[in-house]
């Protein structure tokens, strides 16, 4: 047998049917659904009299629109349109009989945090969701990617997706990370190298010692942002850490089924001589704590650097950099660590897990946030919130002056009440610094939870290593 990549192996195990030109019908093991990209899909099923083909493999949870303030049971905290979308998901989940975690359930949270937490996401699976950050689940060695609403309807109706195979890219992070450098710095630094379109047409497998050393939470952070590098999916081969994380989760297999699953999961790695269409290698020790300065995730630099000059770039990027710097209200040559911030957001499917909150709390402990700053911590799920309270992290954040919120997407995207005002500048642990992403004319600097925590203390972008 010819050597295969991890992606090849998972792909091959899910091909229902293949056309001559390579177009495949791919079987979908898990379909995650949220309130914003699903209403039209369910409506389509209703109009055509179709059912959900595999309701037991379909998991729905509201997250995008849902307010995260403690008073969110009060309907007045939502806009009419948002309320309608959440109500529609409630009704559709019931009508079509899919698994559902309503807002009132402690297990509710961001769909990409809930899936792994409940053991829905397992190695070797195909996982889709009407959300581009579905790439997160690749951390388990699952082939996971975002789909549009037409495809959501297609998966609901058929439990398959029409797909052409992507190319294989290997991103290897060798050696050890330096102190203060995290999974977020890895994933942002990779995008800094590849550019936001560098991964287009590829599935990325992240490997190397620095990746192996990451916890499952860190691996999810890395895979989450594969999409920002243009790749639909990111993958990490499962290992003992993966199995340990999955074991005992509510929907993970038990007993003999667990053993049977393990037999296959242990074969899920890229063969030594597998073919790669593209290979990128980065030394772990070369990665620094980074922040973004512009309005594209590729606009990333070490915190010790300065805002670039548009003339440093070539082609269309000259205009793009000029536009970014103007939008961000910065000046070329300005030290990144001199940039003052108004707001800190810690949360999102990128960095809203327990380990992220621990890392931020370790920086914040015993300190106060800068006067006048607005700072919030939004756990990724109700269970993450409960665990953080049990570990005393919530108290650390509240003592420092952070707001301690309920679970949801919150300020990652401007769809719920948590939004930036025009010109407001945010140190954010989310995944996109696009124009207007966090609110009309809002200014976003992406970074790790530890770096965001450091910025909250000083009031400006800060090298977390100075506070360690």
């Amino acid at each position: 047998m010819s050597p295969k990549t991890l992606y090849d192996k998972i792909w091959d195990a899910h091909v229902v049917q293949q056309d001559e030109d390579g177009t495949c019908l791919l079987y979908i093991d898990r379909h995650l659904v949220h309130e914003v990209t699903s209403p039209q899909a369910f409506e389509g099923l209703r109009m055509s009299g179709r059912k959900v083909r595999a309701p037991e493999k379909t998991i729905a949870v509201p997250d995008h629109n849902v307010p995260t303030t403690l008073d969110r049971d009060d309907a007045a905290t939502m806009t009419e349109d948002s309320r309608i979308q959440v109500a529609a998901l409630d009704a559709n989940a019931k009508e079509f009989g899919v698994n559902y975690y309503p807002v009132s359930d402690i297990r509710q949270g961001i769909v990409h945090i809930v899936g792994p937490e409940q053991g829905w996401t397992l190695p070797g699976m195909t996982v889709v969701c009407g959300d581009s950050h579905t790439a997160t689940h690749g951390a388990f060695g699952a082939l996971a990617h975002g789909i549009g609403t037409s495809e959501v309807e297609h998966v609901l109706a058929t439990q398959t997706l029409i797909q052409k195979k992507s190319k294989n890219m290997k991103v290897e992070i060798t050696g050890k990370l330096r102190p203060g450098v995290t999974a977020k710095d890895i994933t942002l630094s990779v995008i800094g190298v590849t550019g936001t379109a560098g991964g287009t047409g590829y599935v990325i497998e992240y490997c190397g010692e620095a990746i192996r050393d990451l916890s499952m939470e860190g691996r999810m952070t890395v895979c989450n942002m594969a999409i920002e590098g243009g790749a639909r999916a990111g993958l990490i081969a499962p290992d003992e850490k993966t199995f340990e994380y999955c074991k005992g989760r509510p929907h993970a297999p038990k007993g003999a089924q667990w053993e049977a699953a393990m037999d296959w999961w242990k074969t899920l790695f890229s063969d030594e001589d597998a073919h790669w269409d593209k290979v990128i290698t980065i030394k772990g020790e070369d990665i620094a704590p980074v922040v973004t300065w512009g309005t594209s995730p590729e606009d990333v630099l070490p915190i010790t650097a300065t805002v670039p000059n548009p003339t440093d770039f070539k082609g269309g990027k000259v205009d793009a950099a000029k536009r970014s710097i103007e939008y961000m209200g910065l000046e070329a040559g300005q030290k990144l660590s001199d940039i003052k911030i108004d707001t800190v957001f810690i949360g999102s499917c990128t960095n809203g897990r327990i380990e992220d909150l621990r890392a931020a709390a370790a920086v914040v402990k015993g300190k106060k946030i800068k006067d006048g700053l607005r700072a919030m911590v939004v756990p990724g799920s109700g269970l993450v919130r409960a665990q953080a309270e049990e570990e005393g992290l919530a108290q650390i954040f509240q003592d420092a002056g952070f707001e301690w919120r309920l679970a949801g997407c919150s300020m990652c995207l401007a769809m719920n009440p948590d939004q930036l005002a025009p010109g407001e500048r945010c140190a954010s642990t989310s995944n996109r610094n696009f124009e207007g992403r966090q609110g009309y004319k809002g200014r976003t600097h992406l970074m790790s939870p530890a770096m965001a925590a450091a910025a909250a203390i000083t009031g400006h972008l800060t090298d977390v290593r100075e506070l360690m």
Binding site: V16, L25, G316
Partner: protein
């Protein structure tokens, strides 16, 4: 969805890189029902000034862009979120073809599912077209050619996507023609990987 083979229409230039889906339709509009039409939301924050009024200087607001059916833009168009609403906004605004050197992967799939052609051309060729705008162009799915006054370029398109655009096929109908194969595959996989089958949903 209705199919098409040829479009003749006004092309307008938007010489900006990395137009992501958050710009194509800011998230705050995505809770609005589609029945109201998403055309007015297209590139809303780029099209409007701080006073909320349309910016007359912005490419799509200029008189020569009126009635445009073709948009020419720079690399990595439609990157970002999977929101199909980004495509709805383009289609509802009358755009049927976007020409760029590269597109976000999910955006391209969404586009095809709504009859919108993402036509890929080399960056140098795109620059030629950008410089020529606004012009009337013809986009032909049979010949895979884009032609206009004094210009003629071939573009790339996946053959399956081409058939889908021409025939206006509904994917679900096509796939359900394979319902027996899907059922057989599921049976077989259930044997090999029973752990993929969770317990029935608890009401």
């Amino acid at each position: 969805m209705t199919g098409w083979t040829r479009i003749e229409g006004r092309a307008t230039a938007l010489p900006v890189e990395n137009i992501d889906t958050d710009q194509l339709i800011p998230a705050r509009f995505m809770s609005t029902p589609r029945s109201e039409g998403y055309g007015d939301f297209l590139l809303y924050d780029m099209r409007h000034g701080d006073d909320g009024q349309p910016d007359p200087e912005f490419a799509l607001n200029r008189p020569e862009a009126k009635g445009a059916r073709i948009l020419i833009t720079r690399r990595n168009f439609g990157a970002g979120s999977s929101r199909e609403a980004a495509v709805y906004a383009l289609v509802d605004a009358g755009i049927q073809v976007v020409i760029a050197p590269s597109f976000g992967d999910i955006f391209s799939s969404n586009a095809i599912n709504n009859g919108l052609l993402p036509a890929r051309l080399d960056a140098e060729v795109v620059e030629v077209l950008l410089a020529a705008c606004a012009v009337d162009l013809t986009v032909d799915l049979e010949s895979l050619m884009i032609t206009g006054p004094g210009v003629s370029f071939a573009f790339e398109l996946d053959p399956v996507w081409r058939q889908k655009l021409i025939n206006g096929w509904d994917d679900i109908d096509l796939t359900l023609a394979h319902a027996d194969e899907i059922a057989a595959f599921a049976e077989d996989r259930k044997e090999r990987a029973p752990w993929v089958w969770p317990a029935p949903v608890q009401g």
